[in-house]
C-alpha cells in the first residue's frame, strides 16, 4: 500500500469557491479528487484548472452519492488514507494532518472532524441542529458521536471497502457512522475549526433539509 493521501471533495455549484479550496488542500495531500454532482455552473472546469482530478456525475445524485463516488475512486487509486471535506470553504485545509493522523498512526480506521469538541464561532442554530442530528443518530443507530453531520472525515481503505455506501443525500452522514460502528471499525473524533461565512451558511443542511433527511433516515432504518 502506498503513502498516498487523497482528498475527496464532493461539490455542487461551488464554482466560486472550489479553486481556492483545491489549492489549499493540495498543500496537505498527494491528490485531490473533486466529484462534481452535475453542477449547473463551472465547478468542474474550475476544479480541473486548479489541478484536481474531476469525476463528473451525469445526473445529480446528492452529497452522499458524490462522497461514495470519490471514496470508491480513491480506493482504486491505492490511497493509504482518504480525507473528505466540504467544497464551500468551511473546513481548514491546514487541519487535514490532524484529521488523518489517527489513521496514519493506525490508531483509528475512521475519524470524524468534530466542530462540537470546540464549537467556538459556530452559530447557535447550527449547534442546535447538530445536537438534534446527534440525538437522531444515537436513537436510530445507538452510536454516540459529537458531530454526526461533519463532512470532514478520514478513512482507512478497509473502511471504504467494508461499509455499504448506499445513502445518496445528507442522510449518509449518520448512516456512515452507523455502518462503521456496526462493522466494528475503530472510530475516533478530533476537534476541527469550522469557518462560517454567509456563503457557507447558505450551503449544507438547513432546517427544512434536515427534516427531509430525518424522514429518509427513518425510512431507510425501517426498510
Amino acid at each position: 500500500m502506498s503513502d498516498h493521501i487523497i482528498a475527496v471533495i464532493p461539490a455542487y455549484n461551488e464554482g466560486s469557491q472550489i479553486a481556492q479550496v483545491v489549492t489549499r488542500v493540495f498543500d496537505e495531500v498527494d491528490r485531490v479528487l473533486v466529484v462534481d454532482d452535475c453542477s449547473s455552473d463551472n465547478t468542474a472546469r474550475v476544479a480541473e484548472d486548479a489541478g484536481a482530478t474531476v469525476l463528473r456525475h451525469l445526473v445529480n445524485r446528492g452529497a452522499g452519492a458524490a462522497t461514495a463516488t470519490g471514496l470508491r475512486a480513491a480506493l482504486r487509486l491505492g490511497a493509504r488514507v482518504v480525507v473528505t471535506l466540504d467544497a464551500d470553504g468551511q473546513h481548514l485545509a491546514e487541519e487535514i494532518p490532524a484529521v488523518i493522523a489517527p489513521v496514519l498512526k493506525d490508531e483509528a480506521d475512521f475519524v470524524i472532524g468534530s466542530r462540537m469538541l470546540d464549537p467556538t464561532g459556530m452559530p447557535w442554530f447550527r449547534r442546535a441542529a447538530n445536537r438534534v442530528a446527534n440525538v437522531v443518530t444515537l436513537s436510530l443507530y445507538g452510536v454516540k458521536v459529537t458531530d454526526s453531520q461533519s463532512g470532514f472525515r478520514a478513512f482507512s481503505p478497509k473502511v471504504i471497502d467494508g461499509i455499504r455506501l448506499g445513502a445518496s443525500g445528507f442522510e449518509f452522514c449518520s448512516e456512515m457512522v452507523h455502518e462503521v460502528f456496526e462493522a466494528g471499525f475503530r472510530l475516533t473524533e478530533v476537534p476541527i475549526t469550522a469557518v462560517y461565512t454567509d456563503y457557507s451558511l447558505s450551503k449544507g443542511q438547513g432546517w427544512s433539509n434536515g427534516f427531509k433527511t430525518l424522514a429518509r433516515l427513518l425510512v431507510r432504518r425501517v426498510s
Binding site: 479528487l33 466529484v35 482530478t53 474531476v54 469525476l55 463528473r56 456525475h57 451525469l58 445526473v59 445524485r61 446528492g62 452519492a65 461514495a68 463516488t69 470508491r72 475512486a73 482504486r76 487509486l77 448506499g166 445518496s168 425510512v219 431507510r220 426498510s223
Partner: protein, 112 residues
C-alpha cells in the same frame, strides 16, 4: 336493493384486470399472484358481504364494513411501504451506475 348488477359489474372489472395482468410478461409470478389474491378477496366480499360481518363478530368489531376498512388501510399501507422500498433500491442502483460511469471516465487513462 338488488346487489346483482354491482356484483356482476365488479366481477367483469376484476376479470378484465386479471386478464390484463396475466398478459404482462414483465411482472413476476409473485407480483401477479399478490394482485390476483387481493382482487379475488375483494370480489369474495362483494359476492358474500356477510363474511365481513362474521369476521367482525369474531374480532369483536361492531360492523363488517369497519373490518373491511381496517383491512384495506393495512394492506394499502403495506403496499405503499413496499413501493417506497423498491424505489429506494432503484435510487441506490442509479447512484451506483452514475458513480461507476464517473469513475470509469475520470480514471480511464490510468487503466482503472
Amino acid at each position: 336493493m338488488n346487489p346483482l348488477p354491482f356484483q356482476l359489474g365488479s366481477t367483469l372489472a376484476v376479470l378484465a384486470l386479471a386478464f390484463g395482468l396475466l398478459r404482462r410478461q414483465r411482472l413476476s409470478v409473485a407480483s401477479k399472484g399478490l394482485w390476483l389474491a387481493i382482487w379475488s378477496f375483494g370480489l369474495l366480499l362483494v359476492w358474500f358481504p356477510d363474511l365481513s360481518a362474521i369476521a367482525a363478530k369474531r374480532l369483536g368489531i361492531t360492523r363488517g364494513v369497519d373490518v373491511v376498512t381496517y383491512l384495506s388501510i393495512g394492506v394499502l399501507s403495506w403496499l405503499v411501504f413496499r413501493l417506497h422500498a423498491t424505489i429506494e433500491r432503484q435510487q441506490q442502483t442509479i447512484s451506483r451506475l452514475v458513480s461507476e460511469l464517473a469513475i470509469a471516465e475520470a480514471l480511464k487513462e490510468e487503466g482503472l
